[in-house]
Amino acid sequence: MARFRSNRKKKNVFIKPTVKQPIVDHVTGDKIPKSFVFSRGKLPNSLKQLEMDLRKLMLPHTALKLKEKKRNNLKDFLNIAGPMGVTHFMMLSKTRSSPYLRVARTPQGPTLTFKIDEYSLAVDVARSQVRPRCPKELFRNSPLIVLSGFGTGEQHMKLTTIMFQNIFPAIDINTVKLSSCQRIVLLNYDKETKLIDFRHYSIRLQPVGVSRRLRKFVQNHQAPNLSTLQDVSDFVTKAGYGSESEADDDAATVSLASDIGRVNRASTKSAVKLQEIGPRMKLQLIKIEEGLCSGGVIFSDYGNGGEARNQENQEDEEGDEEDEEGDEED
C-alpha cells in the first residue's frame, strides 16, 4: 500500500506541470495566475457561500478547499502564496455598511477595493432558471474574461482592466482549443452609475440551421415521439414552432475552427448560447491602494483633491479598520 501511495503522489506531482507549461510558452513570460479567495473577518452565511462561488469561478487555478481560521492574518496567506505561486488574492469582508471585495496582486499590490452593492449566489441564479445547467466539466478550464466599457481612458479603470485580465491565464489564439472555452466572466462598466456588473456564464454551442426537433434528436439519443405524425418525413420537414430565443442572430453564430463534440462540426455553423451560472455581483470601485491592502492610495471614490484626499482616505482606512475590528468583536 505504501508503495502504491507513493506512486500516486509522484503522479500528482508530475501531472501538474504538464498541464500548465504549454500555456505559458506564448505568453509574455508570466506564470499562470493562481488565486486565493478568502475572507477577512467573520462572514455571514450568504457571503460564505459567495466566497465558495467565487472559488469555483476561479477554478482550476485556485485553492477550492482553502481552510481559513480566525487567527489567520494576511501575512499567513502571503507566506504561502510565494511558494505556491499564487499571484492574486480575492478577499471578502463585511462591515456594518456593506460587504466588500478586495482584489489584490501578490506580493506587492496593487489592491482594488470594491464595494459589493448587490450580489446573488450561484444557487439563486440556478433557482431562477427553469433548467439550470452547471456540469462539473465546466470548471476544468479557466474562464474567458470579457471586459466591456472599461476604455474610459481613466487610469484607475485601466488598472482595473489589467488586474482582471491577468487574473485568468492568457489565451493564445493559435493554439487554444475551443472546447476548453466553456465559461466566460463578464465585467461590464456602466459609466453613468459607475458600477461594474459582474456576471458568470457558461458557453454552449448549438448547430445552426437545423430544426429544433432534429437537434434534440441528435443531442438526446432518445427515440422521438412520432405518434402525432402522418409520416416519418414529417419529422424532418415540419418546422414546428420557433420561439423568440430560437431565432438565430447572425451576431451569435460562429464557424468553428475544429469540431467540438459530436454535434458541433467545423464544417457547420454554430450558435453561441450563454447561460448564467455562478455568482452575480454589482461592484463599485472604491479605492485602489499601491501595496497589498496598504500603501498609498492611487484612487479613491470618496474624496476629491490631492493631499487632502489622501489624508481623508487614510482616515477612511482607519475608520474601516475600526469598523472591522468592531465586527470581529461582535
Binding site: H26, V27, T28, N45, S46, R96, P99, Q108, P110, E118, Y119, S120, L121, D124, R127, S128, Q129, L144, I145, V146, L147, S148, G149, F150, G151, E154, Q155, H156, K158, L159, T161, I162, Q165, N166, A170, I171, I173, N174, V176, L178, C181, I184, L186, N188, A251, A252, V254, S255, L256, A257, V272, L274, E276, E290, G291, G296, I298, F299, N304, G305
Partner: protein, 320 residues
C-alpha cells in the same frame, strides 16, 4: 376444574372404549350444563359472601383493585341494577357492583339482606342512589370556565395578563433585533426574478459578442495554419509570418471598427481585452503595466511619490 376432572374419572370406570367415549361426550355435554350451573351457583355464593365481606371492610384503593382483578373473569354481562351498600361506600366500588350483576336475580335478596343486617345506618339504596346521582350530575354538568388566564382570582389574573404582555413585547423586541441582524447579514443579497430583464439581456449580448469575436479570431488563426506543418522549417517561417500579419490585421480591423461607432467602441474594447493578455505588447497598456510592475518592485526602496509618478500623475488631474 377440579370438580370436572373428578366427574370424568367416575364415568371412566365402565369397560369399552368407543361407546364410552361417545357416552362420555354426551354425558359431558349434559354434565357441562349442569355442572356450569352448579359451579356458578357455588362459586357465586361463596364469592358473594367473600365480596360482601370485603366490601364491608373496604377502605383503600388497593383492595379494590385486587378485587377487580379477581372478579373480571367472572363478569359476563352488566346488569343495570346496582346494589345499595356498595354505591354508598364509594364510586370506586363500581367493579364489585358489576361483579354482582349477572347473578343479581338470585342474590339480590341475600345481599340486600346482608346490607341491611350489617350496615343499618346507611341510607336506603334508592335514595342514596338518587342523591348520589344528582350530586354526580351536578359535578359533571358544571361548566368550569375555560379561561386560559387561570383561576378566577383577580390579582392573579392581572399578574398573568401582565406577564403575557411583557413576554409579547419582549418577543417583539427580540424579533426586531433578529430581523435587523438578519438584514445586516443579508445586506446586498438579492434574490432574482424568473425572467431576464433588459439589462441582463444586454449583458448576455455583450458577452456573446465577446465570445463570438474570440471564436472567429481563433478560427481564422487556426484555419490559416491548417495546411502547414510547423515541424518543417520552411512552413514554420511562413506560419510565423502569417500569424503575425494576420493577427495584426485582425486587431487593426477591430480598432478601426471601434473608431467607427461609439456603441461598438465599448464592445470592441471588450473583445480586445478578451484576447488581449495573449499579446501584451499589442495592448495599449503594455508599457504602462510593465513600468508599473517594475515600479512596484522598486517600491520598497523608492518613495511612494516616485512610483505614482510612473502612472497616475496625469491621472490625478484626470480624476478631478
Amino acid at each position: 376444574m377440579a370438580l370436572e376432572t373428578d366427574l370424568m374419572e367416575t364415568k371412566k370406570v365402565p369397560t369399552r372404549r368407543k361407546p364410552r367415549q361417545n357416552k362420555g361426550g354426551k354425558a359431558k355435554k349434559g354434565e357441562k350444563v349442569f355442572r356450569d350451573k352448579e359451579k356458578k351457583a357455588r362459586i357465586d355464593k361463596k364469592m358473594q359472601k367473600l365480596f360482601c365481606k370485603r366490601a364491608r371492610d373496604y377502605n383503600s384503593d388497593d383492595d379494590d383493585d385486587d378485587d377487580n382483578d379477581e372478579l373480571e373473569p367472572e363478569v359476563g354481562k352488566e346488569n343495570g341494577g346496582p346494589l345499595g351498600f356498595e354505591e354508598a361506600s364509594d364510586a370506586n366500588s363500581s367493579g364489585e357492583e358489576r361483579e354482582n350483576g349477572p347473578d343479581a336475580d338470585e342474590e339480590k335478596g341475600d345481599s340486600e339482606d346482608e346490607g341491611y343486617e350489617i350496615q343499618p345506618g346507611i341510607t336506603k339504596f334508592t335514595e342514596g342512589c338518587r342523591a348520589f346521582k344528582i350530586a354526580f350530575n351536578k359535578i359533571t354538568k358544571k361548566n368550569v370556565s375555560d379561561d386560559p388566564l387561570g383561576p378566577v382570582l383577580s390579582g392573579h389574573k392581572k399578574l398573568v395578563a401582565e406577564k403575557l404582555a411583557e413576554e409579547e413585547s419582549e418577543r417583539k423586541v427580540k424579533g426586531l433585533a433578529k430581523k435587523e441582524k438578519h438584514s445586516v447579514r443579508e445586506q446586498g443579497h438579492v434574490m432574482l426574478e424568473n425572467f431576464l430583464g433588459p439589462h441582463e439581456k444586454f449583458l448576455i449580448g455583450v458577452a456573446t459578442k465577446g465570445v463570438v469575436k474570440l471564436f472567429n479570431a481563433v478560427s481564422k488563426a487556426q484555419n490559416a495554419q491548417k495546411g502547414l506543418n510547423p515541424s518543417r522549417s520552411k512552413d514554420a517561417k511562413v506560419l510565423g509570418k502569417r500569424r503575425r500579419s494576420a493577427f495584426l490585421s485582425e486587431l487593426r480591423k477591430k480598432t478601426s471598427q471601434a473608431a467607427g461607432t461609439s456603441s461598438k467602441g465599448t464592445k470592441s474594447t471588450g473583445a480586445e481585452d478578451d484576447d488581449g493578455p495573449a499579446w501584451a505588447p499589442l495592448r495599449d497598456s503594455y508599457m504602462l503595466t510593465s513600468s508599473k510592475l517594475k515600479n512596484w518592485d522598486k517600491m520598497e526602496d523608492t518613495s511612494v511619490a516616485h512610483d505614482t509618478g510612473g502612472m497616475p500623475p496625469d491621472s490625478s488631474s484626470d480624476e478631478d
